[in-house]
């Protein structure tokens, strides 16, 4: 069967309040994804539109976005796994190409979170838990991750300072990313002294809601070579799930959906954690990045804090992680996030990550999590 490549990847600027419509956000991402490709809109055989519908005013956004981008009459449809919706979109696009149904597919993720107040957005997120059994207690995304943080600290001695050091790193790289919402460097003190949201997570341990869009163009291998000089090959692509309820979780010091997806993705790609040159992980909260280090095998269970302590996840470290600023700096427009992570890895593998290029990067990894660890997605890309 044919190989599948990513030929283009783009994103809009992520911001707190974009002041434009979702179709216009999608256009910005689409435009950047097509830049430099020997392809036009009419060469795209299908589009997959990704968001978390609870934040959207527009119902059935696939029809709207495909009209605006002039992708009609080609098929367009919608997929959702909350924060990992666009990784799921990539998975579906890969399948459509691999099956021979289509040659070129666009995956467009978006979210315009500024249409809701911060408390209302938190309430919608809370309904991303089990609405009969757990949402009525006031479970929120940060609270769910905070419970993982507490368990990790109690079992392994991870500290609030370790968590803050993740933000110090990501704010350092975010400061030079022109697409990021938050472009200021933060000191350890700034982070440790910020308001407590849900213990032990403080304001600067949390990513911000944002508006934004991303676009990834996927093509059949032989076609890809005619579209771009540097196709980026999808060599591992795995999704896994865990329980919707916190009550159902068997492990509170790591995300089992990520562990499962990672294990299978390494096998599919025929690589090991130490072969990864650069990674994008789902740092919706600082603790999430430390859990990811361990779930992806970059550190042993319980030793994730050591990686950030030793600065091994900086650009010149053993395994650079989120050197575009991560969700913590870029902001987290739910449906757009996975595509933005993929864009960063594509730029790294093409040697085009001007702000923070990892020298000679050949193999990259994207870890994109939906909800409080309900949906785990690990994608491995190769130049």
């Amino acid at each position: 069967m044919a190989d599948v490549a990513i030929v283009g990847a783009g994103q809009s600027v992520f911001s707190r309040d974009c002041g434009v419509s979702i179709r216009e956000l999608a256009f910005d991402a689409f435009k950047e994804a097509l830049e430099g490709l020997d392809i036009t809109t009419s060469d795209i055989d299908a589009s997959i539109i990704c968001s978390a519908p609870e934040y959207d005013k527009q119902r059935s956004p696939a029809g709207l976005i495909s009209e605006y981008l002039e992708l009609t009459p080609k098929p367009s449809f919608y997929v959702e796994t909350v924060c990992s919706s666009s990784s799921t979109g990539l998975r579906v696009a890969w399948s459509l190409v691999k099956s021979g149904l289509h040659k070129v597919v666009a995956v467009i993720g978006f979210q315009k979170m500024s249409e809701l107040s911060s408390r209302d957005a938190a309430e919608r997120m809370g309904r991303g838990a089990d609405i009969i059994w757990e949402s009525p207690f006031g479970l929120t995304m940060p609270a769910g991750y905070a419970m993982y943080a507490r368990a990790h600290m109690d079992k392994y001695g991870t500290t609030e300072e370790h968590l803050a050091k993740v933000r110090v790193k990501n704010s350092h790289y975010g400061a030079t990313n022109p697409k990021a919402n938050y472009r200021k460097e933060l000191s350890l003190e700034d982070i440790l002294n910020s308001d407590m949201i849900t213990t032990p997570l403080k304001k600067f341990d949390c990513c911000a809601n944002a508006d934004g869009a991303s676009c990834v163009i996927v093509a059949r291998g032989d076609v890809a070579k005619g579209i771009t000089n540097i196709p980026i090959w999808v060599v591992g692509l795995v999704a896994a799930t865990d329980t919707m309820t916190m009550a159902g979780r068997k492990q509170l010091t790591g995300l089992q959906c990520a562990q499962e997806a990672a294990k299978q993705a390494y096998k599919m790609a025929g690589v090991k954690p130490q072969d990864i040159d650069v990674a994008e992980v789902h740092d919706c909260f600082t603790v999430s990045e430390i859990l990811a280090y361990e779930d992806l095998g970059f550190a042993k269970p319980g030793e994730g804090a050591g990686l950030i302590e030793d600065k091994e996840t900086y650009v010149d470290g053993k395994i650079p992680v989120n050197v575009d600023g991560g969700l913590l700096s870029k902001g987290h427009p739910i449906g757009a996030t996975g595509g933005s992570q993929i864009r960063t890895i594509v730029r790294q593998l093409r040697g085009q990550a001007t702000e923070s290029q990892v020298k000679g990067a050949e193999i990259g990894l994207v870890h994109n999590i939906g909800g409080i660890g309900q949906y785990g997605n690990v994608t491995i890309l190769r130049r």
């Binding site: 609405i131 009525p136 006031g138 929120t140 609270a143 419970m147 509170l252």
Partner: protein, 137 residues
């Protein structure tokens, strides 16, 4: 009776498992068990996907559990503003049952320790709504 009066904000009402609420009104926090294959469920399920039976039995979650993890929530979402700060927690009980609930307001934050002994008990809130919470065991 369904889930309309359960917790701070209930988002849905009808469920086969709504018998849970009848027991909760009587002061009991219940789980379900499939008599055919012996699997127990919390949150309760009215169906057993292991053997596809729809005839589960209810049993009370009794005895002492221990605190697995917790967080003090300072920022409540819409509908929960007046509850904050509140403490969400996971408690582990006998038979592999894990429950997410809140810690009782009787427990001072400074007394909270991982592994501390807990019991789960029904709660009638001052506003007339019902729930369950963890108390010191």
């Amino acid at each position: 009776m369904g889930f309309e009066n359960f917790g701070t904000v209930s988002f849905t009402t009808e469920a086969k498992a709504a018998e849970f609420i009848t027991y909760l009104e009587q002061g009991k926090v219940m789980a379900t068990r499939c008599p055919k294959c012996g699997v127990s469920y919390f949150p309760p399920k009215a169906d057993c996907p292991s053997c596809l039976s729809g005839e589960v039995e209810w049993f009370e979650v009794k005895g002492k559990g221990k605190l697995a993890t917790y967080t003090i929530v300072n920022y409540g979402p819409s509908g929960f503003e007046n509850d904050a700060p509140y403490i969400l927690a996971l408690g582990e009980f006998e038979g592999g049952i894990q429950i997410m609930s809140r810690l009782s307001k009787d427990i001072a934050p400074s007394d909270i320790k991982a592994g501390m002994s807990l019991v789960v008990s029904s709660l009638k809130r001052p506003d007339g709504r019902i729930s369950y919470e963890f108390k010191k065991g």
